[in-house]
């Protein structure tokens, strides 16, 4: 960037864009270097401030884009220059990337602020306050990696961010690595997330390499204009790219069949679940498809595949969420399901709808997770207060503060949390006029005009969404407290509730970003994504359909109604003032079907039987038989070491002792013997020496006389 570029109005803010990477980097460096000498509040505010400043810079990009909507690319540095490969560190500023920057830094900032208070308690509950600093270092590192991901102007830099967020996800899932089942559960969850993501990354890499093979470049601006032409020559090349990119997406965005890591990722602290595993990182896959939209625009087959994967995931995960008891697991499956909605949308070509749902989902799902965190800590506080009150260990000491069966009646004990949770739940369920209604409706509208089957799958998923959220609300907040700990629960501190209220406002009004007919967000993204989906009949997509909106509202209300009837009216009737006798009414009604849902269709076990156990058996066999017995015991010990031993023995005994030592010793003995003989010459009598000299002189003289004559 030259100063002369700054002249044009609005351009000056584009020049500031490298700061979105520099601020989080500074934040984490400060916390690494000085964190151990700082107080908790200072650490938290340094990290939050870094993200807040990033948000301000992102906002300035928005202002600049208002004037120059075509955006720009800021080259920071050369990265790799080999032959015809020229890679830069470049930041792409356009409406799509700035949307992501705003969501990541905005929601990220609120979650950072929330975490200041949340982690204060969390590190004490888990008994290691020194990890407070580490948490915020990881958190800022995540923001940095996510910013690299969304601001990349080429696939390889995007991949750096992609792996960076995966690393942070791993580090933060295993944040309490010494906790969890058998003291290793959280570490295993982190490992599972990492390995599952590696499978997806393999797909991403194959796609990226194929892109380079076909286009000789990694940069978006060089690749996208050529796609139409390449697609006519090599359609299978493009299909290969899109399908393997989809594999990457299923890993990162937790779609079928690689979604299994996300529920386990709930082992991380709740702000992590909110930021990484709900609002931002998991949406990277959706962003990737939206960013690569020209590939999908020319490949209808790939779009069909993507939308089916998304739709099936949406329904599959929504049904599992119905059978969960862990407050965060419900939200985790809900996240998978909502990601399915987004993937379906971008798969159908409705990139705007997908991105819109991404934004609103970031608002309300972050809100729900953070509120769930507030509930969990409320219960923890209740548990602590009760122990303190009774002055001794109770059987409730091992009570799971995340199990919804233990809760109930928190509405009056945590009123702020209740209200924001309600707003988040209604937004997720798709109740007009909250954010989720508008974005989900847009996806359903597109689906109804493109593929009716997908529309019905999504509609059923939406019904389940409303139902499991109603179930959760009634289980957690209504009725009577079912344990003493919950009865003693109290509201969270203001530092936690204020971000919740801000997010609740966003979840409430976020839908107005893209109202039908006005479509602010749609026109905003048009500058980057030029593709528009058409209906099956080849017509332009209608902006709104009362039929679709009415249907989804009806389904949502039906879901909430059934939830209300089952989990409030029936439960109240059956309990009759004995809250301890609580039993999930759906469990009794559905019996084995509920058990299937509760066990998540045994997918983990299925993967265990199909993939993990054979793989472990294979590794065991390779390690034990091939490596240890064959390679180590036989080849190394017998063949190499045995031959070597024999060889060295030959060299040592025959050659070294037999020849070299014998020669040296023989020489020594010869010298010893001959000197023994010669020493007799040294008599010590001067006369003898004089005699020798005399004889010598006579000889020399004789020689001279005889020869020289």
């Amino acid at each position: 960037m030259l100063l002369s570029d700054v002249g044009a109005t609005g351009f000056q803010f584009f020049a500031l864009v490298p700061l979105i990477l520099i601020f989080p980097l500074l934040g984490l460096l400060i916390n690494i270097a000085f964190g151990s000498r700082m107080q908790e509040k200072q650490i938290g505010w340094v990290a939050s401030g870094a993200v807040g400043l990033t948000f301000i810079i992102s906002f300035l990009q928005l202002v600049s884009l208002g004037i120059h909507p075509e955006g720009t690319v800021i080259r920071l540095a050369d990265w790799i220059t080999i032959a015809n490969l020229n890679l830069h560190w470049g930041i792409k500023v356009d409406t799509l990337s700035v949307t992501m920057m705003l969501v990541v830094s905005g929601v990220g900032f609120l979650i950072h602020v929330y975490a200041i208070a949340y982690m204060h308690d969390d590190v004490r509950i888990n008994g290691d306050p020194s990890r407070y600093q580490r948490f915020f270092v990881f958190f800022n590192l995540f923001i940095l990696a996510m910013m690299i991901l969304v601001s990349a102007d080429n696939y390889l830099m995007l991949f750096v961010g992609w792996e960076g967020v995966g690393l942070c996800s791993y580090l933060l899932i295993g944040f309490w690595y010494d906790k969890g089942k058998d003291g290793i559960g959280n570490a295993l969850a982190g490992k599972k997330a990492f390995i599952t993501n590696r499978i997806g990354d393999f797909g991403f890499l194959l796609a990226a390499f194929t892109i380079f093979g076909l286009f000789h470049s990694f940069e978006f601006d060089e690749i996208f204009p050529q796609i139409k032409q390449v697609a006519t020559v090599l359609p299978y090349g493009i299909l290969f790219i899109t399908v393997f990119m989809l594999l990457g997406v299923t890993g990162k965005s937790a779609q079928l069949p690689l979604y299994v890591w996300l529920p386990d990722a709930m082992a991380g602290p709740t702000p992590v679940s909110a930021l990484i595993h709900a609002a931002t990182m998991v949406t990277a896959g959706v962003y990737l498809i939206a960013r690569s939209y020209p590939f999908y625009a020319v490949m209808p087959e790939a779009r069909t595949l993507v939308s089916w994967v998304g739709a099936l995931t949406a329904l599959f995960a929504a049904t599992i969420a119905v059978g969960q008891f862990d407050i965060k697991k419900v939200l985790a499956y809900s996240t998978i399901s909502q990601l399915g909605f987004m993937v379906t949308a971008v798969g159908m070509g409705a990139f705007t709808a997908g991105m819109f749902h991404l934004v609103t989902h970031a608002f309300f799902k972050a809100l729900l997770f953070l509120s769930a965190g507030s509930v969990i800590q409320g219960v923890e506080r209740g548990l602590h207060a009760q122990l303190h009150h009774k002055g001794g260990l109770q059987e409730d000491h091992h009570l799971d503060p995340q199990d919804m069966r233990n809760m109930g009646g928190l509405r009056t004990r945590m009123p702020t949390t209740f209200w924001v949770y309600l707003i988040g739940a209604l937004a997720l369920a798709g109740i007009v006029p909250l954010a989720g209604f508008w974005s989900k409706d847009e996806i359903l509208l597109n689906a109804s005009n493109i593929d009716k089957r997908i529309y019905w799958i999504l509609a059923v998923a939406a019904f389940f969404t409303a139902f499991y959220m109603a179930r959760q609300i009634f289980m957690v907040f209504f009725g009577e407290p079912r344990t003493d700990a919950v009865a003693h629960a109290s509201e969270s501190p203001q530092l936690m509730t204020i971000p919740l209220i801000v997010l609740a406002a966003l979840a409430g009004f976020g839908g107005f970003l893209n109202l039908p007919h006005i479509e602010t967000f749609g026109h905003w993204l048009e500058h980057t994504i030029e593709y528009k989906p058409l209906t099956v009949l080849g017509e332009e997509m209608p902006p709104f359909s009362l039929q679709v909106a009415g249907m989804s509202t009806l389904l949502a209300l039906l879901g909430i109604g059934i939830g209300y009837w089952l989990y409030y009216i029936l439960v109240q009737k059956s309990l009759r003032g004995e809250p301890q006798a609580y039993k999930d009414p759906l469990e009794s009604a559905l019996g084995p079907v509920f058990s299937v849902l509760n066990h998540k269709y045994w997918v983990d076990e299925l993967y265990g039987v199909l993939v993990i156990h054979p793989y472990q058996a294979l590794s065991q066999w390779l390690a034990d038989v091939v490596d240890w017995r064959f390679w180590h015991d036989w080849f190394h010990d017998t063949v190499i070491a045995g031959t070597f031993k024999k060889g060295t023995k030959l060299l040592a005994v025959q050659i070294d002792l037999g020849i070299i030592d014998a020669t040296a010793n023989g020489l020594a003995r010869l010298t010893n013997w001959s000197s023994g003989q010669l020493r007799r010459v040294q008599t010590g009598y001067v006369r003898n020496y004089a005699m020798a000299v005399f004889i010598g002189v006579v000889f020399i003289l004789g020689y001279l006389i005889v020869i020289l004559k």
């Binding site: 020493r679 008599t683 010590g684 006369r687 005699m691 005399f694």
Partner: protein, 100 residues
């Protein structure tokens, strides 16, 4: 005037006597005297040859030999005195501590 080979013969006889004295006798003083005898035999030979060839070189060399002999006497007698002080004897066969 006697012919020169008379002197040379005398010189050879004296030298042989000196050499025999050095090799046979055990008394350090006698050995010393024998060495002097050999030196003076050599001197006689020098002088004879100088005369024979009518050059002065041989006579000059004799002066050097006498100077060396004087120095040798000084050193040699001092050594003998020192040996006598430690060993109370000047028997040369007793000084065989350099035996191999």
């Amino acid at each position: 005037m006697l012919p020169e080979y008379y002197y040379l013969t005398l010189s050879a006889i004296l030298f042989s006597m000196g050499a025999m004295g050095v090799l046979i006798r055990r008394n350090a003083i006698i050995i010393f005297m024998s060495v002097e005898l050999m030196l003076n035999a050599a001197n006689l030979a020098f002088v004879s040859f100088a005369r024979m060839h009518a050059t002065i070189n041989g006579q000059i060399f004799v002066f050097f030999v006498m100077a060396v002999a004087a120095a040798e006497v000084a050193v040699g007698l001092a050594l003998i005195v020192a040996i006598f002080e430690t060993k109370q004897s000047i028997d040369i066969d007793q000084m065989n501590s350099m035996k191999g």
